[in-house]
Symmetry: C2
Subunit: 446 residues, 2 copies
Amino acid sequence: MTLSNEGKKMILALQFVSGYGGEFRSWRLPGASADAYTNMDYQVSIAKKAEEGKFHMIFSADTPALTNDLSNQSPMHQMDPLVSFAAFARETNNIGLVSTVSTTHSYPYNTARTMKTLDVMSGGRIGWNAVSSSMGGVAENFGTRMLPRETRYDMAYEAIEAVQTLWGSFGEGAMVLNKKTGEYADMSKVSYANYNGEYFKTKGPLPIPASPQGQPPIFQAGGGEKGIEMAGKYASGVYANPYTIADAKMHRSALHESAERHGRSGEDIKMLAGFMFTIGDTEEEALERRRQIMDYAPEMETAQRVQYLGMMVNLRISINDININQPLPQELVRQTSPNMMDPRAERVMELIQKGLSVKDILAHGVINYHPVVAGTAVQVADFLEKWFTSGATDGFSIVPDSLHDGVEKFVEQVIPILQERGLFHKDYEGPTLRENMGVPYQYGVR
Amino acid sequence: MTLSNEGKKMILALQFVSGYGGEFRSWRLPGASADAYTNMDYQVSIAKKAEEGKFHMIFSADTPALTNDLSNQSPMHQMDPLVSFAAFARETNNIGLVSTVSTTHSYPYNTARTMKTLDVMSGGRIGWNAVSSSMGGVAENFGTRMLPRETRYDMAYEAIEAVQTLWGSFGEGAMVLNKKTGEYADMSKVSYANYNGEYFKTKGPLPIPASPQGQPPIFQAGGGEKGIEMAGKYASGVYANPYTIADAKMHRSALHESAERHGRSGEDIKMLAGFMFTIGDTEEEALERRRQIMDYAPEMETAQRVQYLGMMVNLRISINDININQPLPQELVRQTSPNMMDPRAERVMELIQKGLSVKDILAHGVINYHPVVAGTAVQVADFLEKWFTSGATDGFSIVPDSLHDGVEKFVEQVIPILQERGLFHKDYEGPTLRENMGVPYQYGVR
Ligand SMILES: Cc1cc2nc3c(=O)[nH]c(=O)nc-3n(C[C@H](O)[C@H](O)[C@H](O)COP(=O)(O)O)c2cc1C
Ligand SMILES: Cc1cc2nc3c(=O)[nH]c(=O)nc-3n(C[C@H](O)[C@H](O)[C@H](O)COP(=O)(O)O)c2cc1C
């Protein structure tokens, strides 16, 4: 299998997080909207800015539960991403809108109905990230306990098929609206869904017509054998979090193979790699901003991060033993070696060699969930180019540290570079998410 | 118990139906938007017009199922009322937005989350019509059979309490957003819901702050002992369908008594009586429009209506035996008497005595679900005044035959009359639905 992006352009998703950004204390930054979580004017302004930059889509991860301590951090997710999407659908024209909706904790009829309504209302711009909700605390909000992975995935398959069957139940062309003859709908094109699974049953029909893209494409998030298998069967897009190009290639290959096992083409699944950034006019300015965000954290947390950093290079260090504003002392540097369990360790070694202070190494985001670039717009563009041209991924799911100026900086500084280099489209290919992603039209179950 | 409206003003709700109106073939009228169901620009324009008229609220009844034959009729409900409400919330400023969400077929966590998000986003303008979904075909969309009434109401009580507990779980003042101290939320004001019912369990918390009205008020729809009992415990508003002033007074008294049994004041529950109208410059013009809508119906349906009309006055008649464009022949008129089972029969007798043609009697809406006035704006205002000043109801839930011009006519012609007569407010009392309805603030379970 060859993974090539020759002649192609990258796909970009903006992770909306909770309206603040990937750094959960960035709400404290000067200029940031502390109330982004509840401020819909602000959220819409971010969506518009992303559209100005021709982002293919906004992606809202979601979990129906409070999943972090809000004492000093902003929430991980929106109040309700689909409510925000209704506003975005009205106030933007081209950008896709992809949200997670749990396959475990929502009735297929309700999921199908709300997402299809949004799809019709947005002119075919909605996508469904179908996840089984594995986070702790979620099941308890629905009166159950977390189910075994096997069961969650069995349910997810059923949920997707039930939803797609409902979507297809109001056939294409069923809306007639002929005032002269009085025919409102052609009921011969409307059929029961009669979906009868082990976990989900639904009769239908769902009385909502096809959108310009037929129905929302399915997305899948995360790796794991089960996830990749499910993606091969259903997904048009995958949100992945590879830390290295090698990881990404493995994941992308596995997705292509899975698609082919299910009678589809690897090209039908677009992988989007998570990527976080802080843009400054200089690398030092970007680092300074990340140091600032680090300073918002309680000391305890910084202590833990220092300890964790040590583990990545097989060192036992404590914040009490070292000066984090200094490089590691030479005798410690000599003892370092990359921890083979962690793909991010090589990057840490590199920065230690360069003689950066411990704080600056952390500021570079080496222990973040995603690869991070703290630097100039050119450095960010270089990173994306390198990954993309190596064939590692179809695109990126980018997470600004803080949306309040991060989206603007990316749109105004990084995107023009990517466009100039021929790596990113200059305009939307069409009005629907499927057209912009380059994935086939679909209506009903495949 | 005295039911008086002295010194009060009536509350008005606009029933949104599916975007078309109370007559399901009105989509064929010249000037009507045949695509109102999917056309969000149009729907928003109706919401704005209603707000211009100072309507207290839009009310969207809802059932998660296709409940009528769409061959020549528009659907009974919207694609998804909460999606439309997100748009209305953004594009209006004062009007309340009340939707049905099933207490049987939605998880309390999901209901609580979406409604509270809308409530925050709209600045405190959302209401929840909590109904147990008794319509055929609904349960099958959720893989079950229709439950006995008893069970449905037990579940409804639990659903409301679970939702209200979740609403209250993120305490007032919990959002701090202090950039200086770094405190995002005061977690001592956030608590688990730990709702543990027989049908619904949910742990929470739901991380959404209070809206300016605390949380959405509860509405209840329909009469029946169980419904009235539930309203007394929870509801701030009730959608009722009395056909006569006497019916309405009985219903309103029952609601007041029920409220008092639950330690509340009768004044805390506002009853809104359903009412349909067609406005013309003359009564004849209004009737002509209703004849036109009747002509859109298949002959079979008109035949059934004629037969049904006969039954209301204890006559066996068939469309084949009479000329519906003529008054009933005198020998038939002599045989009529009001069917005591039907509160609408008196009105039919009256119109027969007046010598109207059978078609015109039907055109007056005598066998409609709601009382109907087909006439001038003054006639409509007179009807509302008579009911209101008699103390029959706190207000009305009005249903135009067709929204496309019916809302405009009501706003431009009827409302000024009501205002002049001192029966309707001239402006919104405040920014929230609770303030406009005159019902107390509430947060969490009472
Ligand atoms: C980029 C990315 C995005 C994800 N988004 C979500 C999400 O929105 N909601 C969620 O509950 N889980 C999300 N997950 C978690 C995965 O769906 C998955 O549950 C996780 O990888 C654990 O795998 P398992 O479910 O096979 O146990 C995400 C994971 C990744 C890598
Ligand atoms: C004005 C009015 C509005 C109603 N709205 C709804 C609605 O939106 N959805 C629904 O399923 N039922 C609705 N109903 C039905 C009632 O909630 C109730 O189910 C019905 O009166 C039957 O009573 P029962 O549930 O006690 O059997 C409405 C009834 C009335 C009179």
